[in-house]
């Protein structure tokens, strides 16, 4: 369940408040209403928009540039063999 975060108080735009919540927005942790309000705030401030663009690029960079390692076929076979043996043990 996504957490509802109160992000705006009474008053105008506050860059610090917006910037603090950009990570939650990019991580998909805001409810729809808060998300829409935050996007509106980001779009009306060049500084917040730049911060958003950098954090967005950074998050994508981490996901795409980090070398994705896969389980080898040998390891998969080894696991299945061990599970087979464990299974026989559990049956006893």
């Amino acid at each position: 369940m996504k957490r509802v975060l109160k992000i705006f108080g009474i008053g105008g735009h506050n860059c610090k408040d917006v910037v603090e919540k950009v990570e939650f927005l990019l991580d998909g942790e805001l409810d729809k209403e808060t998300e829409a309000r935050l996007i509106k705030e980001i779009n009306r401030c060049p500084s917040c928009l730049e911060h958003y663009a950098i954090d967005d690029a950074f998050k994508k960079f981490v996901k795409t540039k980090l070398d994705r390692k896969c389980c080898t076929d040998g390891l998969k076979s080894e696991i299945l063999e061990k599970i087979k043996n464990l299974d026989a043990e559990l049956e006893d």
């Binding site: 950098i54 389980c71 390891l75 696991i79 599970i83 299974d87 049956e91």
Partner: protein, 188 residues
């Protein structure tokens, strides 16, 4: 230890809900240890434990998060054993220090977007492997595996507020490392 599930039920749960996560588990294990042999051992241990304790898994629930928690706990057990060796830095102390003011967000590291453009995967891997393991863990779980804060909270066994603040600090640390790399490579 026995199990109340039949062999058919165990097979079905294992092949349909556990084994499809083998690659994701291996990727997580590899980036935690940065060592293929240790990653192999951790993934094997995870599947063996999951199978042995298959009764405590509720079919149709979040098997990926359940398996990641088992792997993370196995890693901590191995890691603690290693940390007891002399000359090993106790990263947990560093992380608990950083978590201590968990609700206060400090400013973000100034990292310009252009810096990313020339960077390679190797530089990213080196940077992520140079940050303390608890910080690396939350970045891998959130940015690489796409777990929610709530799932991360359960996997790592920390409150959601700590997940948020730890992620923020982890990203800032990683940005610092990338900025340093960018500096040495002449991107800045």
């Amino acid at each position: 230890m026995g199990t109340t599930k039949s062999k058919q039920q165990r097979d079905s749960t294992f092949h349909n809900e556990f084994f499809p996560h083998a690659d994701a588990l291996y990727n997580f294990a590899y980036h935690l240890t940065y060592n293929e042999e240790e990653a192999n051992d951790l993934v094997q241990e995870t599947f063996m434990k999951a199978y042995r304790f298959i009764d405590s898994y509720q079919v149709g629930t979040n098997s990926k998060a359940w398996l990641f928690k088992i792997l993370k706990n196995a890693f901590i057990n191995h890691y603690r054993k290693r940390a007891k060796q002399p000359n090993k830095v106790d990263f947990e102390d560093i992380v608990s220090h950083h978590d201590s003011d968990s609700d206060k967000f400090k400013g973000s590291v100034d990292l310009r977007q252009e810096i990313f453009q020339g960077m390679l995967g190797d530089e990213m891997s080196n940077a992520i492997n140079s940050i303390p393991v608890d910080f690396k863990t939350v970045i891998l779980l959130c940015d690489v595996e796409g777990f929610t804060y709530e799932e991360i909270s359960k996997i790592v066994d920390i409150p959601i507020g700590t997940v948020r603040s730890r992620l923020h600090r982890a990203r800032n640390l990683l940005k610092e490392k990338l900025k340093d790399y960018a500096g040495t490579l002449g991107y800045t």
